[in-house]
Symmetry: C2
Subunit: 451 residues, 2 copies
Amino acid sequence: MPNLSPYHFITEKQSGREHLAADIAAFIDGFVKGRIPDYQMTAWMMAVYFKGMTSSETLALTEAMLRSGETVTHDSLLNPIVDKHSTGGVGDKITLILAPMLAALGLAVPTITGRGLAFTGGTTDKFNSIPGFRSEMNLDDFKHQVADIGLAFVSQSSSLAPADGRMYALRDVTGTVQSLPLIISSILCKKIAEGIQGIVFDVKCGSGAFMDRVPYARQLAEGLVHVGTSYGLDSVAVITRMDTPLGLAVGNWLEVIESVRYLRAETTPPDLHELTLSLGSALMQQVGAVKHANEARAKLEQVRDSGHAWERFQSAVERQGGDLRTLDTLEHPLKPQCKSGLEAPKDGIIHAMDAREIGFAAVDLHAGRRRVDDEIDPTAGIVLHRKTGDRVTKGDLILEVQAADQELCDQALQRARSAITIKEHQPTADPLIVEVVTPEGTMPAAQYFSA
Amino acid sequence: MPNLSPYHFITEKQSGREHLAADIAAFIDGFVKGRIPDYQMTAWMMAVYFKGMTSSETLALTEAMLRSGETVTHDSLLNPIVDKHSTGGVGDKITLILAPMLAALGLAVPTITGRGLAFTGGTTDKFNSIPGFRSEMNLDDFKHQVADIGLAFVSQSSSLAPADGRMYALRDVTGTVQSLPLIISSILCKKIAEGIQGIVFDVKCGSGAFMDRVPYARQLAEGLVHVGTSYGLDSVAVITRMDTPLGLAVGNWLEVIESVRYLRAETTPPDLHELTLSLGSALMQQVGAVKHANEARAKLEQVRDSGHAWERFQSAVERQGGDLRTLDTLEHPLKPQCKSGLEAPKDGIIHAMDAREIGFAAVDLHAGRRRVDDEIDPTAGIVLHRKTGDRVTKGDLILEVQAADQELCDQALQRARSAITIKEHQPTADPLIVEVVTPEGTMPAAQYFSA
């Protein structure tokens, strides 16, 4: 039977009928090869936004996008090949920390990193703030680095799942970024192309995440685990709160500093530590590297405290051209020309520190992009001196912003000020780790980690 | 306040919020001027398909599309300037008949005609089957012809509402043809650009129409009358059945023959006659040319029987280059190479003659287009010898098809056969004229025409 015409393919979705896998494959192939124009792709994606996709359709879409490009295979590796994915947050430097910890524990971690989006930071941008670091490399070099040091950070390339790059660019300007099946297929086609065997998804919900409600995050988490599992990946998703920035640094080089100091065991921000251990242990348990999550937590703490993770991080950075001396001294050759502090306007307790607004304040400072071709200032960003739940006295320094000039700092400070609420009582503390989704089901985090 | 970015404009509609008129104007203007790409337009139109538009939004969209091009003004004319629009049917040649009747009664009828779509015929294609006829002309010639003869048929040009042509082409390939606000604005931007003062809409429902259900047709009719009235047009819509082809001919030149013979009072197919009088009298009453619809019916019958409408038709055709001798003899220089008849397979009563399938059978014969650039065979088509409700004896000729070769005829005959149901009892007769929609409200046709 011949495939549906693009027109009938669009109207099939529009009327809520289910696509055949072969028709999805033909549509994506036609798009990648230029036979199907952008304007039919965006109309179809808008119909998907409204009508959704079944699990089988999402799987078929992932497959079609995966097949649009090359896939990496790590034939010579015996250790489990794993990765971690975050749906994006503010101050989220977990990849910089967890990937070397896992590598130091003997897992191979070939990571494809992305750029920052809207108010969220991107791992590619963070690595690129290290002087000399090259986040682009060809697939052969990528494979060799993973084989040699078990760890590589490569920015999304056009040879892996090229359909995704083009579809994402169109979604970004036509309002279809927030479609579950499009999110799921976009994430997984790239992860599967990396050649991994196991993955942990950090699905964030809250003001500083693209999803603010738990039920929606749960749907995404379940979809990611379903499609990942269908591809034979050991998959687990952890739903986590992102209402307040993670750790104490927001901004690329500032987050590298925080990550390095964490890896060197000089600092241990509780939320960063907890999330790193939770994601790492869920992944290790899922791939069968440990029997119980608790065992994994102990190993992860050990591999940090021993300095092995820090060594592995340096090896990867060095291999990718990064300047180890700068990492060592944490003195960036570029200096922000301007710093300003935000002081507590009254006594009380920090009731909320809206992560989305803090994220946008960082964009104001040029730590992120307003437009795709905006230049990033590597050292711009925000350092938090207080976090949600902390008591402050009028005049206490809550946070500092730094950027290239005073105007940027003033603008960001104004935004940061509006992000912070001070009240007389403690806020209700939402747990950082909400739920865990495995192929067997969804359960509260406490239940999963105590099992 | 600056206008919304295209992205925010799309997401505003996506989330069901109402657009500001200024933002709609900016979006359409940006599209026409090439600042907004097709892929954002199709995404927005798909969002409109799902979320609809309010009356004010539809009005603003019509205005924006109207302003994308020129508008005609008929300054020197004192007679009411009117037009008629049909949402499209099978065998629908009413424009060819009613326009010259209205012109002969002293109204001015500047008609912009369209091409056939899917299974429905197009008035442009019908006129183009007359040897020598030119359906394209510039706006000055159009105005002069209307001033001189009160009647002109021009095919949609790129100078009137160019936004519509481009948006329609995109809707056609992305499944958004069936969106009420997009239909309403598309129809009205062109009609308003013609410079008319009054209009009657023939909103068809049934198997041979784009809308099969009355409630949906009513929504469209009410929307058309609302927007028309907002522009100061005397507007009335008549909801009519299109379950079976109108008259006895389907196909371009065959429909010209039927129209000419009707205008010469040589033939009076009851459904064609009834629909012509109903639409004509509703329009004449709405523009105040008569006090009561019955008065208009009498005038319309008179202007046909007197031959004045036929004269007016010939004047317009001659002015547009058409060969009057062919019209006179009704002998087309091209002859179909093949004719085949469909005979009744058994005794009984024709219970149904599915207009959509008959329309597609005409497309099979090349009386219509499968693709936009298909060539039309002017003399191809179908002549009905029996209609729904007629008694037949086995072997009676029900219809004849004609085309360029036997293969086309065989294919069309097979489809036509499946369109016809013969039973032993009479079908329930749905009235041809269902409802009338005026700015004052919607009422059953019987009530309107007896008032």
